[in-house]
Symmetry: D2
Subunit: 289 residues, 4 copies
C-alpha cells in the first residue's frame, strides 16, 4: 500500500519564485515531495500548483497543516486547499431510473479504485433500491417535481447533512438542481457536485441527444463529466470520452454505447476529483494526471 | 494489384427479396460478387445496397452496364449509380493559406492511397502555389470576396469544366460556397463537394473554434468531414475524429492537434467517397467500410 | 422491440453467383433480408456469408429451417449454422478471484445488452459467491489443481450438461483448460469457449504481464478476447482494446486500467458472438459488425 | 511567440527536499519557472526532474548556465542536461525507399511543429532525392550492405560530423545500425537516435509484421517510436499508437493504416524529444507531457 500523503492545491497570482517558495515551505517542515505539478496561465496571470508529500516524517502535526496552508495561501494572495490522502471522502450518489453509472461507481468503490465511502444513494424514482442496498448504501426515494422542488431539496439537504456528505455525484439524475441547492452543498467547499452529461459538450444539448445524433448521422458520440454550476451544462469540464458509431447502429445502440462512455467518463472524473488532481479556475479545469 | 470491379450503389423503397433480385441480376450477367453490403432504414422504409463485382468475365460490355443499372433502378422505383474502379476520379482541391490538408491529400494521391487525379488546385490566396506545383498540379489563384463572388465563382466553374472535375475537396478553403456554385458542381451528379470542418460538429460552430474550445476547457477536440449542402455545416457527415487535449495545451497546441485530426478525417472521407463506400439519404450517410 | 430473425452463417469454397444463390434461397422461401454481409478470402478461396432475415412471414416452419440450411450448405460443399434470434443462448461464466469481468457481464446481461441467460457461475475459488448469486446465478466452487484436474473438469462438464450450457466465458479464470475439456464443450458446436487475455496479443504472454509492461515502459496496454483453442493464447481473436499509460502509472494503475480494457473487450466479444456476428476460418475471425 | 526558456533535466538518487533545492536554485538566480515536473521511481530510488524557466531576466549569463547545471548535478550525485529552447537542434533523417515518415517530418518541421533543422537526409536507396531536396535538405545516397557496412557507416558518420548533427531519426530506414555507429553518434550525448518500429512492440518482431498480423487476424495494429540501443527493438519506448483493423482489410490496407500510425507516433516522439520532455532511466522513459 502507498503511504499516506498530504496534497496541497493552490491558486494565486503568478510571480517569480513561487515553485521555490512552495517546495521550500514543504522542505522546511521536513516533507518529502512525491509529486509536484504546476501550471501557469499567462493570459490570466495565474499560478496553479498541486504538491503531494509524505505525511510520515512531516514536521507539523496533522491538525496544524490546514491552518498553516491557509496562512501560506493568504501570504501569497491566493487560495489553498489541503487534503490528507488517508481521509476518505464521503459521497452521495443521486440517480433516477438508469443504473449503469451507479453500479459502476459502487463497484469501483468496492474494488478500491475510488477512494470514497458511499453511505447514501438518493433517487427520484424507487427502482434502484436493491442495487444501492446490495452495495451497502442507504437508499432514499425523494420524489421531486415542479410542485415540490423546494421541499424535496430540503429533504435532500437534510440527508446530506445527516451523512456528512462532501461530494454529490449526479449519476444520470434526470432533474435539474437549483442554484439554492448548489449554494448549500458548496457551502462546505467549492465544486462539490459532479454530473455526467449525455453528450460531447457543447453538442446536442437538451432532450433525446442520441435521437438527434442519430438523425444527424454523426460518426462519434461522447459524454462529458463536469462540475455543476448555476449555468446549465456550462460547468468546468473534467473529462470527456467518445466512441465510434455507424449507420448500422440504431438509436438503442447509440444509447448502449453512450452508457459505456458515460460511465467511463464519470468514474474517471470522480477518481480525479477524489485524488485532488482537478483544479478549477476561470470556468475551466486543470487536470494534473 | 486488385483486378477492376464494377460498383453499384442503389437506394429504393424497401420490399422483400431485393437482395436476391440485385444479386440475381449480377449473377445472371455472369458477374462474380466481391463485396455486397446492404442496409435497411426501417423508419424511412428505404433499402440501400452497395454491390461490387469483378469486371472480368462480366457478360455486359462496359458501356452497356450503366444503362442497364439505370433500368434496374427505375424498375425498383429507386436511384442507382454505377462506378468502374479502373476509372480514376478527377478532383480539384480548393485551399486558402493553410497547407496541411493539401499536402496530405496530394501525398496520399501520389502514394496510391487515394484513387484520384488532381490536375487542379484553386486558391483564394497565392501562398500555396509551390506546394501544388511540386506535386504536379496546376495552381490557379482566384481572389474572392464579397465584391466579386459571382465573377470569382464563374472563374472557378470554368476551371472545373476545363479539367473535367468530378469532385471538389475544400481542404481548409476559408470561403463559403454559394448555393449556385453547389448546384452547378452537383449538376454532374450528387454530392460532389466535400469539406473539412474545424470542429467536432455540431460543436463550436463559427469563427475561432479552437479559442472557444480552449476557453471552455474541453478535454477532446475534433474535426468533421462532410458533404457540402446549402445549409452551412449541416451537410451529411462522412467521418469524424477526435484527439485528447489538456490544460497544458495552449491555443496553438489545439490548432496543431486540430490539424492532425482535420487531415486524417478529410483523407479518410475522400477515400471512402472515391471507393464509393458512402451513400447519402435523408441528410445522413451510410458508410460501407 | 426488434422482431425475431433467422441468422445464417455459411462458409464454402468461393465460386460465382453464391450471393445470388443464398439470397435467392431466402427470397424463394418468402424471407425478407434485414442484413446481409459477405466476405471473400481470395488467398484461401473461401466465401463467408452472414444473412439475417425476418422470421415473420418466412415460409418454412421453425423446425424445418435448420435442416434446410444444412442441406443448402452441403449442396455448396461448405458448412452452415443457423441461429434464431429469439432463442436465448445459455452461458456459464468461469471465474477465479477477480470480479470485474464477471460483474460487467452479469450487469450487461440484466440490462439487456447481452442476449444470453447465465444460470451458472463456476469458480476455482469461493470468493465470488455473493456476486454471482446477487445476479441470480448458481455459484459452484470447483477447486482445481495439478492433482485433481481430471476430476474437477468432470465436475465442470457435469454442471455444463446439467444446465444445458452452450457458451463458456472465461472471465479471468486463471486456470488452463485442457484439450479434453475443450473437445467436450465444443462437441455441441464449434467455438464455444471465449477467453479474455490480459495483454495485447501477441505481446507479453505469460505471468505478470503488467509488471513486464511497466518494466518495458510501454505507453499503451491492451487486452484480447479470443476463442480458446488447444494452442494456448493462439485462438482466433474476436476483439482487442488498448488504453494509454504513462510513467506516472504504477503497476497497480496498469492493473486497474487493464481491468477496464479487459471487461470492455470481453463484453464486446461476447455480444458479437451471441449475435452471431463472428465467423471463424483458418484460425482467424471475420467480424460482421 | 513564446519567449525562450532554459530546460533542465536531472536524474539523481532520491532524498528529501530535492524539489525545493532545485526550484530554490532557479529562484536564487532570478529565474521564473514556467513548467516543473518531477517523478520519483520508488523501486529504483531515483528522482527525475524537468524544470523550464524563462531565460529573460535570469541572473546567469547564457554560457554560464550549463556549467552551473553540471555543478548542481554533481552536488546531487546525479546527471543533468541543459537545453535552451532558442537553440534549434540539428537533425539528420535516415530513410530507405518509403517516404511517408520523411514527408511528415519535413512538412512538420517547415510548419513549425518540430523545433529542428534538417540539413541532411541519408538514404541507402536513391529514390527519395527529390522529396528531400524539395524541402531544402541535402540528400546523400550511401548504399549499404553486408559487404561494406563499416565503410558506409564511416561515410554516414562523416556526414553527421560535417553537418553538426545532434539527432538521427530513422524514418523507415530498413538497415540495422551497429553498436559502433551508435556509440559514435551518442558520444555527443545520450539517446541521439530515434527509430520507428513497424509494430506495437513487443509484438510481431521481425520481417513482414503486417503479413503476420493479418494471418493472426488481429483487430488492432500499432507502431512504436523508441530510442535505439544496442539490443534490437528493445530501446526505451517514447510513444506508441494503434489503429483498428478488420477482416475486410487486406495486407495492403494494414500497411496503409500502419503508415499512418508510424508517422504519427514518430513525429510525436521527435517533438517530445526536441522539447526535452523525455527522460530515460533504467531502459524506460518518463515522458513529461
Amino acid at each position: 500500500m502507498r503511504s499516506p500523503t498530504a496534497i496541497l492545491q493552490l491558486i494565486c497570482p503568478d510571480r517569480p519564485a513561487l515553485v521555490s517558495e512552495l517546495s521550500g515551505w514543504v522542505a522546511a517542515n521536513g516533507g518529502n515531495i512525491r509529486h509536484a505539478d504546476h501550471h501557469t496561465d499567462a493570459d490570466a496571470g495565474l499560478f496553479l500548483s498541486r504538491i503531494e508529500w509524505e505525511l510520515e516524517g512531516f514536521g507539523l502535526p496533522r491538525e496544524a497543516i490546514a491552518p498553516a496552508v491557509r496562512a501560506l495561501a493568504t501570504r501569497l494572495g491566493g487560495e489553498g486547499q489541503l487534503h490528507l490522502s488517508d481521509v476518505t471522502t464521503t459521497a452521495a450518489i443521486f440517480v433516477s431510473r438508469q443504473d449503469h453509472a451507479l453500479v459502476d461507481l459502487l463497484w469501483r468503490t468496492r474494488a478500491g479504485e475510488l477512494p470514497m465511502r458511499v453511505p447514501l444513494v438518493v433517487a427520484n424514482h424507487p427502482q434502484l433500491q436493491a442495487v444501492a442496498e446490495g452495495f451497502g448504501a442507504r437508499f432514499v426515494h425523494v420524489p421531486i417535481g415542479p410542485d415540490n422542488r423546494a421541499e424535496a431539496e430540503d429533504r435532500q439537504l437534510e440527508l446530506l447533512a445527516e451523512h456528512g456528505i462532501e461530494l454529490v455525484v449526479l449519476a444520470k439524475y434526470m432533474q435539474v438542481v437549483t442554484p439554492r441547492f448548489l449554494e448549500r452543498v458548496n457551502a462546505g467547499g467549492p465544486h462539490r457536485v459532479i454530473n455526467i452529461h449525455h453528450s460531447f459538450l457543447p453538442a446536442f444539448q437538451g432532450a433525446q441527444p442520441y435521437h438527434r445524433a442519430w438523425e444527424r448521422g454523426v460518426k462519434l458520440i461522447g459524454a462529458t463529466a463536469h462540475y455543476v454550476t448555476e449555468e446549465l451544462d456550462a460547468g468546468p469540464i473534467i473529462e470527456q470520452a467518445t466512441v465510434h458509431v455507424s449507420h448500422r447502429d440504431e438509436v438503442d445502440d447509440l444509447i448502449r454505447k453512450g452508457r459505456d462512455t458515460e460511465r467511463l467518463a464519470l468514474s474517471r472524473a470522480v477518481r480525479l476529483h477524489l485524488r485532488r488532481q482537478v483544479m478549477v479556475y476561470r470556468g475551466r479545469t486543470a487536470v494534473f494526471d
